[in-house]
């Protein structure tokens, strides 16, 4: 792939005559035969995507940034108020608690999801290649968060929910999973992990399959145990995919909404009022779109920072595996 790109670049740099000579010599070059008219066709082919990019990605992004400096209630035109929204943001206790709640959720759900999905993928990889089992593992990924939230809302019910019945039968005290301040976020995180874990595990499993089995045979000959091989062979080789999965999970977790909306609606007393929930209620509950846009931008800055961290991680892992 990289080779093809280099030849393409070479070709553009060199003159017309050399190009013709090259195209005769290298018949596999994708750019060799007549590309007269390529330009026009290319713009036609990317036209729908370009319109989508400009109208529904670039324009809304810029507009979102603009709106964050305005007072805007949708019905009347936006009114420029400079940094007022951001000033308000700094002193908005609900925003900060909401950010804290979100970070808490991200840490809990991503770490738990990572541990369980890596373990599951590794166990699957070493035990069975059954597509049926892998299929069952991703079942929760196929249903909507609304369905998942509703089911767990029922199973975690403090009176009739099966989880509490089992806890009580085992001699424990009943837990107010979704209705107590302490448990609201951990419960939402558990539901989210239940829904997302299989998907992550299958991606990691696919990554594991790219590791040549001879490595494990060599390890076994050297007398390494399964656990040791997992630590010294599997994990390092898996780092690029793990870095990708972690970052995708973090970005997804920062934007959690559906499950919260269905189970706790941000309660009790803002205990699970995650950022996107707060943004939604500001925009559509109080029609404070300017302020909601400012919070969206704050979230965007956080996510950009994480994306850059991801690039670091990925690059680090590349040099690691090449060494």
């Amino acid at each position: 792939m990289a080779v093809l790109e280099t030849t393409a670049r070479d070709q553009r740099a060199s003159g017309e005559a050399t190009r013709r000579r090259k195209s005769v010599r290298r018949t596999t070059n994708p750019y060799s035969p007549a590309h007269r008219g390529d330009g026009r066709l290319a713009w036609v082919l990317i036209a729908p995507a370009l319109v989508g990019f400009v109208v529904f990605a670039a324009y809304p992004t810029l507009r979102g940034i603009y709106l964050s400096f305005t007072d805007f209630a949708v019905l009347s035109p936006p009114e420029w108020i400079g940094l007022d929204n951001y000033r308000e943001l700094l002193h908005d206790d609900v925003f900060w608690s909401s950010l804290g709640v979100t970070v808490y959720f991200v840490l809990l759900s991503v770490s738990l999801s990572l541990v369980v999905s890596v373990a599951t993928a590794a166990v699957l990889h070493r035990l069975t290649s059954s597509t049926v089992i892998r299929g069952l593992i991703i079942l929760p990924f196929l249903i909507s968060a609304v369905v998942a939230g509703t089911v767990w809302w029922w199973m975690l019910d403090s009176q009739l929910g099966i989880v509490n019945i089992v806890i009580k039968a085992l001699g424990g005290d009943g837990i107010q999973f979704l209705t107590s301040r302490g448990w609201a976020i951990p419960s939402v995180a558990l539901i989210s992990v239940w829904k997302q874990m299989g998907y992550t595990a299958i991606i990691i499993f696919a990554g594991l399959q790219t590791i040549p089995p001879t490595i494990y045979e060599a390890g076994r000959v050297d007398g390494a145990s399964e656990l040791r091989m997992f630590r010294t062979l599997t994990l390092p080789l898996l780092r690029p995919i793990l870095a990708l999965v972690v970052v995708l999970n973090i970005i997804g977790a920062f934007q959690v909404f559906d499950i919260v909306q269905v189970t706790t609606k941000g309660g009790p007393a803002n205990a699970s009022n995650v950022l996107q929930m707060y943004i939604y209620s500001k925009a559509f509950g109080q029609f404070d779109f300017g302020y909601a846009a400012a919070m969206s931008l704050a979230l965007f800055v956080i996510l950009i920072a994480i994306t850059f961290l991801q690039m670091r991680l990925l690059r680090a892992s590349e040099s690691d595996t090449n060494a």
Binding site: G52, G64, L244
Partner: protein
């Protein structure tokens, strides 16, 4: 030798135990939906721990599908609300199918331009498109809602579908990478024989790219089918709302103090059923697609 093998199989036993545990936690909620959906609400509160349906009845499904009268429904602990399943099913099918078909098609066209054609500005446009990968949904959602409202497209399929139907940086990137990896010999031969670019695209490149196209279609369809937030923003009218919203509305109509658990689970099952059916048919394909998308 025997010692190693024994230790090894102990480890295997532990691993199998773990796997069975994970599978149990994964699947149990699905069983619990079914078990609760076939139970009677009053019997349920008397015997909530029973592993089998308590006071077996089809009542919850009848309530949800609107086959029971309001009096019957309330007598069984329901609210009288129902989900017009056929109607919402059609909405979900339209939303998910049209969105997925359009976005995959347009992404394929763009990927071809980026991988096969030679034109000024190509590399710049490609990097420009890729910047969109960095922008999270939340930043564009509110302005897009405002835009759809200004275009007068609230409560229309066009308003639901359009913002996500034209451009996907991930799809374009994914397909371009795959196309760059394909051998172009057949395409070149066809071009030399005088076939037009479009004929080559639709007759040769497209069929050769069917694997990743199916992958993206499956993942896209699942995502759209389960989408909740965007339809929640742009639709308030039942005529276009998808199944996910209908379920959420049904859940809200359930009495707060004593929810109609059986009815809720029946509704949940009804909402999940189409996806589960799709899974029965395309299970292997879906599993492979997910793995494939991660590696690329």
């Amino acid at each position: 030798m025997t010692a190693t093998r024994r230790r090894f199989s102990m480890g295997r036993a532990a691993a199998w135990t773990y796997l069975v545990g994970v599978l149990f936690v994964t699947i149990f909620p699905f069983y619990w939906i079914l078990r609760t959906a076939l139970s009677d609400n009053y019997a349920l509160s008397a015997d909530p721990a029973s592993p089998l349906p308590v006071g077996f009845t089809w009542g919850p499904f009848k309530r949800v599908l609107g086959l029971a009268t309001t009096q019957e429904s309330i007598a069984e602990g329901g609210s009288g609300a129902s989900i017009e399943i056929g109607h919402f099913l059609v909405n979900s099918v339209v939303y998910a199918t049209v969105s997925t078909a359009l976005i995959v098609f347009f992404s394929t066209l763009a990927a071809y331009a980026f991988s096969r054609l030679h034109w000024r500005g190509r590399d710049f446009m490609f990097s420009l498109f890729l910047t969109a990968l960095m922008v999270p949904g939340i930043l564009t959602l509110l302005p897009n809602f405002v835009l759809v409202k200004e275009l007068g497209l609230l409560n229309t399929f066009a308003g639901m579908i359009l913002p996500g139907a034209l451009f996907s940086a991930f799809n374009i990137f994914f397909l371009r990478q795959f196309m760059l990896g394909l051998s172009t010999e057949t395409e070149e031969a066809a071009l030399l024989d005088g076939a037009g670019r479009l004929r080559v695209l639709f007759g040769i490149t497209l069929p050769m790219t069917s694997g990743p196209i199916i992958t993206l279609s499956i993942l896209g369809f699942i995502g759209m089918w389960n989408d909740y937030f965007w339809p929640l923003l742009v639709t308030s009218d039942e005529s276009v709302q998808p199944l996910t919203l209908a379920l959420a509305v049904f859940k809200q109509s359930s009495p707060q103090a004593q929810p109609d658990w059986a009815g809720l689970m029946a509704a949940t099952l009804v909402a999940a059923l189409p996806m589960l059916a799709l899974f029965m048919v395309f299970g292997r394909r879906i599993v492979n697609s997910i793995g494939f998308s991660g590696i690329k």
